[in-house]
Symmetry: C2
Subunit: 324 residues, 2 copies
């Protein structure tokens, strides 16, 4: 029993992880598509909106490649990553999520990612990139907007400006203060310091047992998801519990679980309220809700692997970064 192949071991991340240097506006960005393929016009429109804010935004030809469902073959997407690393951009903004990073994680040169010193930003499927960068190279990347749809017209303007302001602030200020948020229940007053990590739950659970999930022993674990039946959300949380991961967290912060309501498309009748009750029964640490992150326009940008402080007081909580 308990024999271990080093290759399958969970890498331990020593705090502090290495963070890219803070940047200030105007930003020099390039776009990188490592997952699903994109509509070229929609991507160009997103880049144009960001340029209107004064930033430089490159959209390499590779971002509009297509093979099967993906933005190019595995080889082409790996080459696009190298091209982005070698570009003069400070910020590498993922084009979109979807699915695709799982196919190439083991072929990425994570030292080159870390040595680039660049800021990588995205969410959803990009979670796999962020977790692997932390696990393999102890390098901080950002959970935040993807280029596609950023500042989209027709969307809620307040939500867009909220996301844009937090994106700029998180990339430029290692002590960014996210402000306060409202939890669904009251918790005893306390201050928790730890390592900010997590994001898309499906991708976090997907990487359990692989060398691409960092081992965080003092985690402030942020989780969100979309289009998952509640029973599946709970089952994914059980994987984290049974693998010992939840017991190593100091706090669990839930973003939005979009389209995770029971409905005709869901196989079993189960509610997110039941999942939340289950999660709170699994762990001793605080489980907070209502955090602005997920598959929604109104979301913050979070350095994955950075040191942060969570202050809880009754039904309110407050998050800020503690710098490198």
């Amino acid at each position: 029993m308990n024999n271990i192949i080093a290759n399958n071991a969970t890498p331990v991340v020593s705090v502090p992880a290495r963070q890219p240097l803070a940047v200030s506006a105007p930003l020099r960005c390039t776009c990188l598509a490592l997952s699903g393929s994109l509509d070229a016009q929609a991507l160009a429109d997103s880049a144009a909106r960001l340029r209107q804010r004064g930033h430089t935004v490159g959209v390499p030809t590779a971002a509009n490649a297509q093979w099967r469902y993906f933005a190019g073959t595995d080889e082409a997407r790996l080459a696009a990553l190298t091209e982005a690393i070698e570009s003069d951009a400070d910020v590498i903004l993922f084009a979109r999520g979807g699915y695709g990073l799982s196919r190439i994680l083991h072929r990425i040169d994570w030292s080159a990612v870390a040595d680039s010193g660049k800021i990588f930003c995205g969410y959803s499927d990009v979670t796999a990139f962020s977790l692997a960068a932390l696990a393999q190279a102890n390098y901080v990347t950002y959970a935040g907007p993807v280029l596609s749809g950023m500042l989209a017209e027709g969307d809620d303007a307040e939500a867009n400006e909220f996301a844009y302001a937090h994106w700029l602030a998180a990339l430029s200020d290692p002590h960014h203060d996210y402000g306060g948020f409202a939890n669904d229940i009251s918790q005893p007053a306390q201050s928790i310091e730890g390592t900010l990590w997590g994001t898309n739950l499906a991708l976090v659970s997907h990487l359990v047992g692989t060398p691409y999930l960092p081992r965080i022993d003092d985690g402030i674990l942020v989780l969100e998801d979309i289009a998952e039946s509640p029973y599946r959300v709970e089952r994914m949380l059980w994987q984290l519990k049974l693998a010992g991961i939840l017991d190593r967290q100091r706090a669990i912060v839930l973003g939005q679980f979009t389209d995770c309501q029971p409905g005709p498309a869901l196989r079993y009748p189960y509610a997110m309220s039941e999942v939340l009750e289950t999660l709170r029964g699994m762990v001793r640490c605080p489980v907070l809700t209502g955090f602005p992150f997920g598959h929604i326009a109104r979301k913050v940008t979070l350095p994955m692997g950075a040191h942060a402080e969570l202050r809880i007081d009754g039904e309110h909580y407050h998050l800020r970064l503690l710098g490198a």
Copy 2:
């Protein structure tokens, strides 16, 4: 890097695993519901059909309990397991799958399961039970029919008799010969001996990184699933690949992937043919298709953890058990 907590290590299964004694008809069965709740009348009807074949089939009151979506609270379901173990039945037939075993795996006394010497049989969510029994107690259970819907009228009679005959044979004959099946492509002639294991892919990937997934170094890995988008099927296979599991298999045998076709309910356009191509690119061992197992009536019963032989010759393959 690579520090390990023993508690989260993947247990190594030494071959041969302990198998329950073979039984012969008429069987003394009891029904056990550890996952979703059931319709009492439908379950009673299933038991009656099995009794008509001469078997004894107990349906304890506990099998019809309900709490949330489940067949009773976690405590009630654990008590039902103890009751089944202490019963005079030789065969414990799971009532149905669904979801629920993930919640109680860490609370089950796996030594008591193994010491019972009884035959446990079921599939889908029951995969979690079978994998955990092998990982925690090196004990063989059976991937096969659940009681609910067994021999159901109106279903294909040939499929029902096929499943019933293989169920009886697998439970009574440690050298059961499953006969030959047709693969979609031709493979060089070869004979492969190894440990039969796996079954529902979602549950196998769900347990990666937990102490409830056995480590099988000479596996004949059988996989099936239902209602998963092809991109999710591929992503689950990537978890097994990245965790080092696929590279330890001697053969991968695919059962049915029911309702896994692309359709309006699926988020990304992707086909099972693409998944199969990806899987064959991931591994060096043979990947066989067309095996009669999954969420279909016409399925065999497989001792999970038993020693088996797979003979491949061109487009055909043949499976038989090699005994304890």
